[in-house]
Symmetry: C2
């Protein structure tokens, strides 16, 4: 019945934001889950103090929003008809002219709750919580459109977050693009129920999101004894173009089986794609295989894709750039449960620095339709540990790209880390946009 | 849309059980979530090996159930039309005449998945996972009815599990009783929506559960400047009796505000209850305050409750025993975020050994209507670290109690710990039942 989950931490990541009076920033807010084991009536909520960067606002200085109603401490104590239920978030508002700067902040709260079933000598119960939270503070006029792939939340999806949580998270950062993996995020794939479709569209509307790209697979080695035929490969792609179109996506990224260590796609790829070009045109979908490390831009795989575009003259096939190719430092992480590497040789190949220069992008940009902003770590100063973003974004901007940057976090999968990292990446993008003159 | 969540661990706690052919135990099963970031077609699932207690069954010896269909490895490789979606559990079946013994087992699995988009040199991907899991193995004819209070899952509810997960978990242990806290588990409390009620009853039916006891509060100190009046206290109780009855509960535990360190209930208690006795009778509900540490059985609070029963002659008021009173060892845990105690003086009062002898139960049993089987730790040999259960259960059995033991875990709140601990307590109860001659 409840379609969203709460962060384990009492302090929620979602909801941490500056607050406005018209265009003026007049404070900030922190969202909290109820630290008690029961929900309770608002008069038993005795205020919340908030500390950020060593400055404390007492429980008498903050206000709190419960079930859409704002209360000062005095109002809380006299209130009736409102509750802080166990499955609901309370939003604490802190007055601060100009608000907090964009970035990672250490936030602490003391939540005061009164419990009549405890001896009064021990009252109120004070629940302390701390967390580093990222304030995205989006600029109003960014250079690009921003989105998120649910791949960023691998491990969290279905365990601590639902698809609606992912949508709410994207909207909370001021982003608008939702990228999914068909086989990971569509219950009953490839045939979602009518009820699921209704909820899908209702939630897109609720969170103001646009479906961007849907990940698809052409599993050429589906069988041990033979490869897929062209017909079968074309049918797999057709199935996903139809599903993507039904869900409102504009892009389909086919992940085609490979035949070499350099990720040459299976030879059926071009015919399987070509047979779907008319369908893609009819459905308004662009098919876009990803250029992914260890394949650089200057490579026969990319040349072949471009030759295909030139030969067919199609507008429904293009390049998706996975920004992992621009890494200048190795990411010393395991992938999906692998052990942490202790030497470069142990680093999974796609996590090694491929050092593709941003300038290589320039000549292929006419063929680029989508950017997956793959990353492994953004530190607490909003600096990416592996990818130099400034030259990459500058080339995109200079060549007139105004499409999506769709976050694809692929670092360690500790619960909640993906959510936090994506917030940091978006804060970083907005910082770079601000530095590039956007407000 | 999805009303249940999956355990973060690849090996799920729910679903670990012996398997039967008629009455004969012929093996066991382990439930797994998909370790990959996408769902996949069944022919890419290349089997699962399972290791328990040092014995391994290879991926050729196990079978796997996907979407309700059972497959051997050869059948998997040739299969069409089935999938292991990312939000679905696969059940691995292991042949083992006589099955596994009741208790905690170290389970390890290697899940082999083929990914055509990886170079074939690195295939299949093998995902290793390990977990200690508890096999409850319920006896068919237990001495008592078993249930669980959702309080056991505090911190997990709304963050990693839904109410439906709690219901599924209870059913998975062979238990039948669902105890909730009205203010914690009923969205929109005190007025749940029609849609929520429909789901509530559908799920009770789906999981074969009976609503047992609903926790309620009479918040005598709801206001800072005055206590609740009798009228207000009676109204609070009436509200919850009506809600409990609507949801199908037979018991309502009012938590009444206290006026002393010995937890004397607020003096409005008797009149607030008495005004509701007719309503409780009409609704088939028994009101049962809890006898909770530090209040022992031989205490004026209990004497007053019994005198109330004798005076009114009511059948709709009785005693609920919280088994924390039988602790013979202190539980060195903090509660709800408090620091771990380093001395007895720092142990929260209800977690100290009150040492009430089980024999004290005997003379109050005519007034006892419900048992909350409070506990803090059951170790991996299925032995409670603080409570001697055998004499307690023997008194219950000898005095003819056949009602519920409703698990109330109150130990540390690490994610998933409550679920695991409740499974251990139920396995312990069934072991004691078996030792008492029940099969």
């Amino acid at each position: 019945m409840k379609d969203t989950m709460l962060d384990r931490s009492i302090i929620q990541n979602r909801g941490f934001a500056n607050t406005f009076d018209g265009d003026r920033i007049t404070g900030f807010q922190v969202a909290l889950r109820n630290p008690n084991y029961r929900g309770l009536t608002s008069s038993l909520v005795d205020g919340v103090s908030v500390t950020v960067a060593g400055r404390t606002w007492t429980h008498e200085e903050t206000s709190i929003v419960l079930q859409g109603r704002a209360f000062t401490l005095a109002e809380l104590r006299a209130s009736t008809g409102a509750r802080w239920n166990a499955d609901e978030v309370a939003c604490v508002k802190v007055p601060l002219e100009g608000g907090l700067p964009r970035g990672v902040h250490d936030v602490a709260v003391d939540i005061r709750l009164r419990a009549p079933y405890f001896p009064i000598e021990f009252q109120p119960n004070v629940f302390h919580a701390e967390r580093a939270c990222t304030l995205v503070s989006p600029v109003a006029q960014p250079r690009f459109k921003y989105g998120v792939s649910t791949y960023s939340y691998t491990g969290d999806m279905h365990t601590i977050m639902t698809l609606e949580d992912a949508m709410a998270e994207i909207a909370d950062m001021g982003a608008t693009g939702l990228e999914i993996l068909g086989e990971a995020n569509v219950p009953g794939y490839p045939e979602p129920s009518k009820a699921w479709l209704d909820t899908w569209f209702a939630n897109l509307d609720k969170y103001g999101l646009e479906p961007t790209n849907m990940g698809s697979w052409i599993d050429s080695r589906m069988w041990l004894d033979r490869d897929l035929t062209v017909e079968e490969g074309a049918a797999a792609l057709e199935r996903d173009i139809r599903l993507a179109s039904l869900l409102g996506f504009s892009f389909v990224r086919p992940k085609i089986g490979v035949t070499s260590l350099e990720l040459d796609p299976h030879p059926i790829w071009d015919e399987a794609v070509e047979r779907n070009l008319q369908l893609a045109a009819d459905k308004g979908v662009v098919i876009c295989p990803e250029i992914h490390s260890p394949t650089p831009i200057k490579h026969r795989v990319v040349d072949d894709y471009i030759a295909f575009i030139e030969r067919t003259g199609t507008k429904n096939f293009g390049l998706l750039i996975d920004t992992g190719i621009f890494m200048t430092k190795h990411a010393f992480f395991g992938l999906d449960g692998m052990a942490e590497p202790t030497s470069v040789e142990e680093v999974p190949v796609p996590l090694r620095a491929l050092n593709v220069p941003a300038s290589d992008l320039r000549e292929v940009m006419p063929y680029v339709v989508f950017i997956q902003s793959k990353f492994y770590n953004v530190d607490e100063d909003l600096v990416d540990s592996h990818i130099p973003w400034e030259p990459v974004l500058d080339v995109l901007s200079e060549t007139g790209y105004t499409g999506y940057l769709s976050s694809e976090y692929e670092g360690p999968r500790d619960p909640g880390r993906g959510t936090e990292q994506v917030r940091r990446q978006h804060a970083m993008f907005h910082r770079l946009d601000a530095e590039a003159g956007r407000a």
